[in-house]
């Protein structure tokens, strides 16, 4: 069963001479248990696609369904709830709340969503895999950019979402950490049956992908995976 599906999505910004057609009839499905990689140059429309899939932007035309629920029939509040319950965002700029310790970043989720989050043991497992188990009492300002990125990944995984959308999650990481993060995302897809979609420039992640898409000038096309 597919976790989400994007059908005939077009996105147009502006009108008249300022009109920009960012996405052209995009069709895309991400199934549970798979890791999809969307690659493309800057300005190709991959971030716009991510915001549409995340329910943050309503497309000019087309439909997006998440676990069978059509965004077009959801209020803003319902979309918020859907994002909180079903979608984990890992963003390029990780923006952890600077006045919350790493532990408090998870407590905040508990305050808003008391049920359905990772158990203590599961969280420990994620923290260990990311190598940040000793940083629970540190503030983001006390962490390196790589450590912050790994905390942001753990924070996105904590609500136990069924879909994980990641925007350049390895931008600040060195190769050994890219491997760890790639394996973690792959593990989330295969072992925990999540649909993982990563928008990236980082070809090092191709080794972990099940599907590869390329987006150019707003046109999405499936590519053959070449792991060499």
């Amino acid at each position: 069963m597919s976790s989400f599906a994007v059908k005939n999505v077009n996105q147009i910004f502006g009108t008249g001479t300022a009109k920009v057609h960012v996405l052209h009839d995009v069709n895309f499905e991400a199934e549970s248990g798979t890791l999809s990689l969307i690659m493309g140059p800057s300005g190709s429309g991959k971030t716009t696609l991510l915001t549409i899939v995340g329910g943050l932007l309503t497309p000019t035309s087309g439909t997006v369904t998440v676990n069978g629920v059509d965004y077009n029939h959801q209020s803003k509040r319902q979309r918020d709830a859907l994002r909180l319950d079903e979608i984990g965002f890992v963003l390029q700029q990780y923006h952890l709340l600077p006045y919350l310790t790493v532990a408090d970043q998870f407590t905040l989720v508990d305050k808003v969503k008391p049920k359905g989050n990772l158990s203590r043991a599961q969280l420990d497992e994620v923290l260990q895999a990311l190598g940040i188990q000793g940083l629970l009492h540190k503030y983001p300002g006390e962490l390196s950019s790589g450590q912050q990125q790994r905390v942001a990944i753990a924070r996105a995984l904590y609500p136990n979402p069924t879909i994980i959308l990641a925007d350049e999650p390895t931008a600040a990481l060195d190769s050994p950490r890219v491997k760890v993060v790639g394996e973690l995302f792959k593990n989330l897809a295969t072992e925990h049956n999540k649909a993982v979609v990563i928008v990236t420039h980082d070809s090092r992640l191709m080794a972990f992908a099940d599907q590869l898409y390329e987006i150019r000038d707003g046109v999405l096309s499936k590519q053959e995976l070449n792991r060499n």
Partner: protein, 351 residues
């Protein structure tokens, strides 16, 4: 609340800066309010202690008891609810003391006003040259039995009692006999009193040449009273508005700095109400902390301030002012709340 407390804990310096601003503002407002109440009381304490509701004066006295003279006919027939009261400004003069301005208030011992006056020490006047003085005479070094001259009267007056809160128009009152008032005024015949005061709120004089006023009307016409009160009300109001602006500006800056973080939280599905509640809670916690410290400073000030300073700490009034500051904080925090509600999660995705 969780986010607000965590931010205050982490950003101690910034939080203390805001709290200190609120402490200074609330302290200033509390002290000014206490001064305003103190001064208002020093204008009205004596009148309030008499237990009168209506006061009948000469219609030509411009609502000023000192300028009023009523003849026996104008005063009319008194019931047990009415009393004569003669008022005149005097200057007390005694060796070893500075001259002291005062109001001499002549009363009849068997009428209700004299009976309402509670003595701190001594006894009520029995002879024409005896007075019961306001406590402030004690602060000037006078004691029971001390004598002083009043006006041109050759015979000295003796203090036979002290009473608290006997001030009229910020001037101490000397209570004596009504006949003494006539003597000090040089009245041999004609007027028998300045006013007829009544504890009956329905009392209304019908004699020609007289007019009846409420106690508040008399108070409002006390020289300088309205100007003082209005000045304080204006100062306190401006400080309230300043506190609103300071809180709003501080919170606005703090919120603007956090917008990218809030946008990420919104992208992650954290409801706006959590962020709005954090902003409002932060404002209320900071202002409430400032108010508590401001109150402690005010209490300390009240305990060390000299008795001559006319400050009165009216708890219900100060609580109302504190509540006013808290409401201003709430209003101030609503300005950044608008920005929080408008935060666009899309703005933080991509780069």
């Amino acid at each position: 609340m969780f986010l607000a407390l965590k931010e205050i804990k982490k950003e101690k310096f910034r939080s203390w800066l805001i709290i200190i601003m609120i402490v200074l503002i609330s302290y200033l407002i509390f002290i000014l309010t206490s001064l305003a109440i103190g001064l208002a009381r020093e204008n009205t304490d004596a009148i309030n202690s008499w237990g009168v509701e209506k006061i009948t004066l000469s219609s030509t006295a411009n609502v000023d008891m000192r300028q009023s003279f009523l003849t026996k006919k104008q005063a009319g027939t008194l019931t047990k609810n009415e009393a004569y009261l003669g008022e005149t400004p005097v200057v007390a003069e005694a060796k070893g003391h500075k001259q002291q301005s005062a109001f001499f208030v002549g009363l009849k011992a068997n009428q209700f006003i004299a009976k309402n006056i509670k003595l701190d020490s001594g006894h009520w006047v029995k002879h024409s040259h005896e007075v019961v003085a306001d406590d402030s005479f004690k602060l000037k070094g006078y004691q029971l039995g001390d004598k002083f001259k009043l006006a041109d009267d050759k015979t000295k007056f003796t203090i036979v009692g002290f009473t608290k809160n006997a001030k009229l128009n910020v001037t101490p009152v000397l209570y004596g006999q009504l006949g003494t008032w006539q003597a000090l005024r040089g009245i041999a015949m004609g007027p028998i009193t300045s006013v007829v005061a009544s504890k009956n709120s329905q009392h209304k004089a019908t004699q020609s040449g007289t007019k009846t006023y409420t106690r508040q009307q008399i108070i409002n016409k006390l020289p300088g009273y309205q100007a003082q009160i209005l000045t304080f009300v204006l100062m306190i109001s401006f400080l309230m508005i300043i506190s609103l602006i300071i809180i709003a500006v501080f919170l606005y800056i703090l919120t603007m700095q956090k917008l990218p973080n809030y946008a990420v939280l919104r992208a992650q599905g954290i409801p706006s109400r959590v962020l709005v509640s954090a902003t409002i809670s932060q404002s209320l916690i900071l202002v409430a902390s400032g108010l508590v410290i401001g109150t402690i400073l005010t209490v300390i000030t009240g305990s060390v301030i000299p008795a001559q300073v006319p400050m009165a700490f009216d708890i219900p009034m100060l609580a109302a002012v504190g509540l006013g500051i808290l409401i201003m904080a709430l209003v101030g925090s609503l300005i950044p709340v608008r920005t929080v509600l408008k935060v666009d999660p899309v703005s933080v995705i991509g780069g």
